[in-house]
Amino acid sequence: MSAYVDQFPAEARIVRAAFWSSFIALGVGGLLGLVQVLHRTDVVRFMSGADYYTVLTLHGVLLAITFTIFFLVGIFTWAITTSLDRGLENLRFTWLWYGLMSVGTVLAAIPILAGFVGSVDMSASVLFTFYAPMQAHPLFYLGLTIFVVGTWLAGADWFRTWLVWKREHPDERIPLPTFMVLTTMLFWYLSSLGVALSILLFLLPWSLGIWEQVNALLTRTLFWYFGHAVVYFWLMPAYMMWYLMLPKISGGKLFSDPLARVVFVLFLILSTPTGIHHQYLDPGIAEGFKFIVMTNTFFLLLPSLLTAFTVVASMEHGARQRGGTGYFGWLKALPWRDPIFTGMALAGLMFAAAGFSGMINAGMNINYLVHNTFWVVGHFHLTVGTAVALTFMAASYWFIPQVTGKRLWNKSVALWQVLLWFVGMTFMSNAMHRAGLLGVPRRTAEPQYAGFEFEAGLGSVAELDAQIALGGTLLFVSVVLFLANVVMTAVGDRIDDLPDNEYADTLSGADDAPLVLDNLKLWTAIAVVLVILAYTLPLLSIIDRGGVFGPGGGAFPMVAESLRLVVVAAVDAGVIG
């Protein structure tokens, strides 16, 4: 056994490339996050209110799509090759999907960035939630499509590698890391179908002027079909790290391989038919459909609670192996000095808080209290912004040495970095939640209104703003420390005494798991049936009421009109017939 870069040098290159793409997005997105909190809270304002939405779009797309998905394709490549103990089948194909993802990112970023330049007639300030009637330049939709196709091909690459392995090992169980990758990708194929349909059938042709208008509620519903499910595309790799890395770093073994498989199967079948819970206030969807989706959403608590139990049990096992004793005394024996452990453990702790605020969001009646308020922003900064981002950053401290062959530059800086993220997010997210309860809106550049003040039951809005600005600043410092550490590690010297490329062994192994758990066709079929049950009637009802292409799809800004003028000018000039 040796480091990953020695076992799979070619694959380590692709993982490195994916990580750097991810980290660039993190750096730029993090900086834009700081700009936003300072603008919103009126601490520093150096741009117009209109530019805020361009910043917000880039922040959302870079962090929610680029940072997370580039990182997860890196660790999925590691998981497949390590657990199957074989390289990918065709590295040209592997570089193809990485290239598509990169080209897609650049194409989507160009119109967003052009939004800052008034003289360029191109923009995509449509936010991460890019449904109609907000309209982006066609390049934005094209870029997103190419990016998603890249992820689909990545999944095909991993499935192909597994199928070849399976032919050679017909009687063996799917190794747990591979099982996690495959179930996640099956779920991703199913859930990203919504956004693919939305873009290819409606938004892209609409932005090109082929359709005059689209059904805004239909594109919204298709977006949220993907938009909530994508949360699990970020979370499942984080869960994978908690299952595979945390027990080993704690000094023990994974408590139960079968339970981990059950969790990933549950995510595969339950994660997609939930998106309408983002639309509780949409008048075009009947309350009954919303109630069904609420029930589906609450079922999703089950795999998260199972994970909490399994991961904490594994950590306790590790701590007791290290000499920990007592009901709670074992906590002291955990390796808190290790930033990989501490980062992931704190990410898990914050995810528990995110689960509680998520239950508020998911409840149909109480959701009305916080819908479209700053509360929701506080919530997803605990989920994707901490459970996922902090886990990925902490995991990087293990992965970067593994894929570069170099020692982590500074372990103490890494520990401070993860703690700073935890503290910064505590300040920022807490204040966002509380501001949401006062009715402070989300997606708003300057939520200060003449002749009106939000009434705080405790403290004041100014205190909450100060807390948000402080938290956002600490988070940015944390990002800078993280990037400095990984860059300094990458430019360091190669060493030979790196830890072996391993993941956690299990107390209860794959042999204890019922064979049916590995029946991916069965679970995919159930997932498809649940999606059909949850979405057929709402979609038919939306189309029945408004038609496939309307109403409510009048475009803003009128990109289509400008394109029409270009075509007319080209025809007049004789460039095209």
């Binding site: 290290r322 000499g323 920990g324 002291k332 024996a333 955990l334 390796p335 808190w336 000095r337 501490t342 704190l346 702790l349 808080a353 520990l415 401070w416 703690l419 935890f422 503290v423 505590t426 300040f427 807490n430 509380r434 039951g457 405790l458 403290g459 205190e463 807390q467």
Partner: protein, 66 residues
């Protein structure tokens, strides 16, 4: 030390959300404290924790997270 320096840092970090929420919790019991009072209570709590942590431990065989 009773716990490792890293362990101490982690405990201080975990105290922060508790301190941040303290005002809200106390308000439920009609106890209002200002931001400055919260900061003062936090400083005292962290100070007490550090004092406890640096006090020599009687049991040197116990793991402390290092």
């Amino acid at each position: 030390m009773r716990i490792s320096r890293a362990g101490l840092l982690v405990v201080i970090a975990i105290m922060i959300p508790i301190l941040v929420e303290l005002r809200t919790v106390l308000a439920y019991f009609s106890v209002s404290i200002s931001v400055m009072e919260t900061v003062l209570i936090g400083a005292l709590a962290v100070g007490a924790l550090v004092l406890w942590a640096v006090f020599p431990s009687t049991d040197t065989n116990r793991p402390n997270g290092e």
